[in-house]
Symmetry: D2
Subunit: 473 residues, 4 copies
């Protein structure tokens, strides 16, 4: 007998039977031919029933499998069903409200809370039983976000997704893992894909960011999604605080000997999961990375970002268009006209003249440009200041790439994480929107201190400026 | 200079400073002298405040550290505080109720749900930020359970623990891991400690249960508690279905060659975490273990338990005391009197005479002895039947240990997991309490079929029997 | 005090001291300024001395560090020193020879063996003490091979490298590891680099070879060189035996569902370490990969290669140039003239005409084209036949890439690993050079069976053919 | 059809066939009935033949399997066969000797070396192909050692084992791994079993040595024997240098807070593999453990042993019996008579009187008691001094256990590893047997300095003392 002889039908037959048996046991086969949406609805209903107790994992698996094959209309129908059929049980809720109003005891409040919980929360928890269930739910939320604008009635469904995902992606469950040139390619290709700040062109570019001894990268992972970094930060170890991203990432640069590094520069932070929008872990990330770095390279003294200022160009353009008074306080503000000339940044003389003006303008933007709740207009500033960092430095020619010029005329900034000051900075910022900043920043503004003394008070008095620049203190 | 010279004060000084710095950064030192309860209350309050956003992990760490040092009164005070001060925000809830009553839209229902959520849920989520936070919360729940009887007002607090722990210990987050002689000692000592069914005497005993090639053990773990098995099952691979636990665990037995095994016997299932009481994963465990076993030893044909019948002796004693009619149907029931003699089980003749009577009595107990909701009186029976297993066999002299004699006069049973019948069994059981059982069991009863035919109907008609044995169908 | 304040000189000073201490302890600093070759000679001498016992690892580390900085002349000098100064101890050897001649006891033979061992073997063993020592020695051997042609006196040194590396890279120490899309990028970039048969263009190309469910790759690793695959094989799982590499690697192809695969195709085997030339593990690799595949996909029936025929084009060209008699037996051999026309393979008609002729010519080349020791001329054939495979099929248009056309006019072949026949095939081949082949191959030849009957005998009789084609049986 | 139905014969049949196929492929079944020795000889012969090339791994596997079943006589016969039939090929060796004598070129020397290599070296290398081959060879050597005394003709075989094992267990291939309470039980039970210095009573005792934060354990492993520690060292982290092993291992002691530790105490070093006798890694172990400890607890200042003095009691008894002159220099030496009284150590007064005398006597033993090659008589002293440590302290009542009293009247010592002095100490010791020692030791002797001045010179002049105590300088 020749077991592996291709002529022998025994083996193919055998394994077909094993495989079939496996399928029966591991998951109900989906009846083919039934319309996708109808099918998943039926599965969801089984999952919530008695049957779900015996075959929960298999049913959840089938829901996840079904979801993956569904097209857009079927998915919208799925969410509509969640909204309409899986809200709170109306009768139970009415009764609980009545009971609570009769006597608002803790027990009554608890019953009310339970009765007000939409059934879909339990459904989502049961879908999570499936292998890959968590990832599927994150993916569902991503889809859901796409429907929200045109289907505001789905907001309630989204609230339940947010509630569960917030609980499940609690920082306590996340794992911080270093990403380096020994990480699985399956993870690394996601770093290339998701890098949102300074594009990674290809694998060679990635190697330059991960392999040299003066580079680090860290990401948060969820145990249920081991190949999916949720958020990651890229770090350069440097001697002193750098101000230019082009130099930091230059292909030609030589790696710094580790022992000569004194500064860790967070130069890129990227979220990856659209489906986790609004569930933030960025503030935990930076602090834990600082701990990790101190463990391995305890001689580092400074922890700082090199950050874009994404809203600066738009703000400056608008301010100039409106002849905003805030610009008027700047000596040399007339030079800003050069920005309208294409290629201004390639003319060394013009650029040299503009640099101090841009630096000061950016300082005004970050310190005085306030929006809702007296918070800075700039989203990156809000993130780091909200974390307790302080604005440390402003570099006029920090990012001369097309993107850098477009969003901020090349300006970049450093936010400093001073371990002793984080909490106080955060509280001041949370209380009053106060922007912590360094003496360097004070000096940038103070170069014009006489000018400011001369002008600002009067500006503040001017009705027009108050209306246009409500954020000026 | 000699760096590691004991005379050199430099190093001790240095590392004291590093360590101190570390402590400052990693966590606020707790003011000493403050009463523990007061302290943790203050920390909890900080954790819920603005400050909690910047220093959440450090504060959570401090709460966990504080909890560990607290004595019983301080802990009861902590729970009282959770009950009183961290319920739902009253005003917000009143407003949400009003809004919902005015117009019961999905949005209003959602707001109502949010407003009814006790603040302590968020507090517990934030405590979970700490390293070891999940384990600390499970431990808190364990303590809480101890207070419930005398402090029923803490039920609402317990409900919130249950809600969060159920969500966090969702099957989707649990990891099934084999436990064997290569597992960490830190895990194995917990297996010894937690084994609840057939005591593991010492490490040698443990080795006999894990190392032979015909033995297996599996446990569920939570990623946040990697050294804590949550529930584990011990498995013997056998040839045929065994009926005697003493032989199965005998020190002298020789291991079965793996290729000769056709049956997997689940002979012990133990929960470990009191703090997770009521959050069940046992039903998932057995099914996933079957999958694992089929992967490595695909030739296994039978999946069966060897289970105790913990309630049988008490039921039989009570039935005899009351001269319960159900016993009267048994031919030879007068032999049961021998059970009152100490040492009955050591007399071979008496034992041989009793075995068929005990077997039938146990069949009656399991099939006819019903309690609330028409479910069997026996808790182990309820567990396996609820999982979709069927009662396969009853062995009169299955466990002749002191414990076995005490709880069931030595009777043990097999519950069979027939992969093709699980779902149907479960549904029948869930619908009507129907106890699935094998032809073997039918035959045990049918040995007395004429007797039954003769007697049962009349018994069913008798008023007295109906009152005493309400569970007889 | 602000610990991580950049102004604070304390920390930089501290860590400089720690680092310096570390360097003193972890390895002797190399005196700068000393000529590299002189330095390594001195280190080698220390390593062989008393000092080497106390500081062996540190000295070995220094040798390895020094080696890496040395230029070509310094390296040649190093090998010359190994040849001249680290041979066997002459006196000891003379004495051992004398003793053995006096009385050739086992003890005397053993002493002789020990005395004849060159000192450099011990030196190389001591260099291996260093972290990275094994890799450094493999690298040394690679360099040494480069010097051999012009420095035949280094052959003795090479023999010692071979002796030690053969012992250390014994199959028993190698680890077979799967390579997939979850493997570390540091390993994967070596797969790209070392692939020697069908070039991997870039990371996307690599992903296509590793990620689809019908592709596998395995490599041998040495524990001391965990990022360095020593040899790797790429495998395609297919339905039936394929004959065309272009289709197998096509970018457009859809992956085969695993359950439909019945054949494993080894389509590329590459050695990576020049320094391990002559130390073969290829024969172990294929057999162990078959075991691995059978573990995970036990329904595979056929294990086969899709191999190039690298020597065919050169052989055919030479045979045609000499008007070799062996070609004369081929009906249609005149069509071979078309091969001289560039672009012949793009003309469908010409190609169709040529295919049967090429197929038969390749069969003759592989079965009749014999070299030294009656082994086939083709190196790939020698490898697989020596492993016990049999020649299964010949495909005329198997590889139409430039390389494929150049080396074999597009011909590819399958060698079949029939598990039941490997040993017998190997023995027949080892004894007499017999080339095991399938009935398909027999039929390819038999298409011309009448012709062969007609012609071969006479050819065998012809003096001329015997001289030109001495390998014809 | 019910796949896992016990009535269904299909499955058992099927898997029997799979298993059988597996056996055929994975290894030749051994013909039953053949005498074991004959069988293994045949396998060895196949392994060295052509067949061995095709089926090397399977044959090696069979040799290993066969070896395990062989009884003592069969094993002795195996070694006899290795000695007689697998020596160097006589003819080849004679020819190589002749060639070398004709012209002693490097090539001739190399050929001579190759020809003098016994065939069994190649055989052992091929046995190593088997999974578990390395462990089997270590086990073979262990058996071989048992035969050596009565079979000196096996020395040549042993030399080949030593040669290969030395090469394969080169420090460069060993892995240092921490052993702690998270290590696999399969490893830990070996620690219990092999601990040779201070017995580990049971698993609780083991836990006390591994789990507290002030305890460490490290072992060397070979990649091919992952569950077998080759040598391990147990470490206590302490504040100051301890002198009493009973206190160090006391069940009642509280663990020291890590930050308060300044000293690492190596209190037990055990070799585990008899089969690796004479292949030492102990000197590498301590140095690498120091590196590891400095990485995690860089504030440690002192690295020291707490060691037994195994030869002291025997030496002292002998010296007293001979009325050795060396004892005469000790003031109070008459007190030593008390040692002859059982229970002397339980009488506090006697013990207090003896302690300074024992301390001084031990100092004399360690510094003046010299044996072959002017090395100390004490084996533990030779090990640590040979490693470059210095004798730091002598404790009179260091180990009052029965074993401690028996071997050294309770005396223990510390050997200090001063990182800056190791190399110099080692060289002095290697050159002249000089015993490095601390000022404390100098003071112990100097307490009697006048006495020494008074007596030693004259003693040195006495003929009698010179003969009896040849080691006194």
């Amino acid at each position: 007998m020749s077991a592996f002889n291709p002529e022998n039908a025994f083996w193919s037959d055998l394994f077909a039977r094993i495989a079939e048996r496996g399928r029966q046991w591991l998951g109900r086969p989906l009846a083919s031919g039934s319309p996708a949406q109808g099918k998943i609805a039926e599965l969801a209903s089984s999952l919530m029933s008695t049957k779900g107790e015996a075959s929960g994992v298999a049913l959840a698996r089938a829901v996840v499998a079904q979801w993956k094959t569904m097209d857009k209309p079927a998915r919208r129908a799925w969410f509509a069903m969640l909204a309409e059929d899986f809200g709170p049980a109306a009768e139970k809720l009415t009764a609980a409200v009545a009971e609570w109003q009769a006597q608002p005891t803790p027990e009554a409040a608890q019953k009310l809370h339970a009765a007000a919980e939409p059934l879909r929360q339990e459904l989502l928890r049961r879908i999570n039983l499936a292998p890959g269930g968590t990832a599927a739910l994150v993916n569902m939320r991503e889809e859901l976000l796409g429907f929200l604008r045109d289907n505001p009635e789905l907001e309630a469904v989204d609230a339940d997704f947010v509630h569960l995902l917030t609980s499940w992606f609690n920082r306590g469950f996340l794992l911080l893992r270093p990403i380096d040139w020994s990480s699985p390619a399956a993870v690394l290709e996601k770093i290339i894909h998701y890098e949102a700040v300074h594009e990674i062109k290809d694998w060679n570019d990635l190697r330059r960011r991960l392999k040299p001894e003066d580079r680090r990268c860290f990401a948060f992972f969820h145990p249920q999604m081991p190949d999916e970094p949720l958020i990651f930060v890229e770090v350069a170890l440097t001697s002193g605080i750098p101000g230019n991203i082009g130099q930091l990432l230059s292909e030609e640069r030589a790696a710094l000997a580790l022992r000569n590094a004194d500064t860790a520069v967070f130069y890129s932070i990227s979220n990856t999961q659209v489906g986790l929008k609004g569930i933030s872990f960025g503030n935990f990330l930076i602090k834990q990375v600082v701990e990790e770095l101190l463990r391995d390279t305890p001689w580092l003294k400074t922890f700082v970002t090199l950050s874009p200022v994404p809203g600066f160009a738009a703000w400056l353009d608008a301010s100039r268009k409106e002849s905003s008074a805030i610009l008027a306080v700047l000596d040399g503000h007339e030079k800003l006209a050069a920005l309208d000339e294409p290629g201004w940044h390639e003319d060394a003389v013009i650029r040299a003249g503009l640099e101090p003006v841009l630096q000061q303008a950016a300082a005004l933007y970050l310190l005085r440009g306030k929006g809702a709740n007296n918070r800075p207009l700039d989203p990156v500033a809000r993130f780091h200041l909200g974390n307790g960092a302080r604005l440390e430095h402003i570099h006029a020619s920090g990012d001369m790439s097309a993107k850098g010029l477009r969003q901020s005329f090349g300006v970049m900034v450093n936010y400093l994480y001073d371990l002793d000051a984080i909490e106080k900075n955060h509280e001041n910022y949370a209380d009053s929107g106060e922007v912590a900043h360094s003496s360097v920043i004070r000096k940038i503004l103070a170069d014009d201190v006489s000018m400011l003394t001369r002008n600002v008070q009067s500006l503040l008095g001017s009705e027009k400026s108050r209306k246009k620049e409500a954020k000026l203190p």
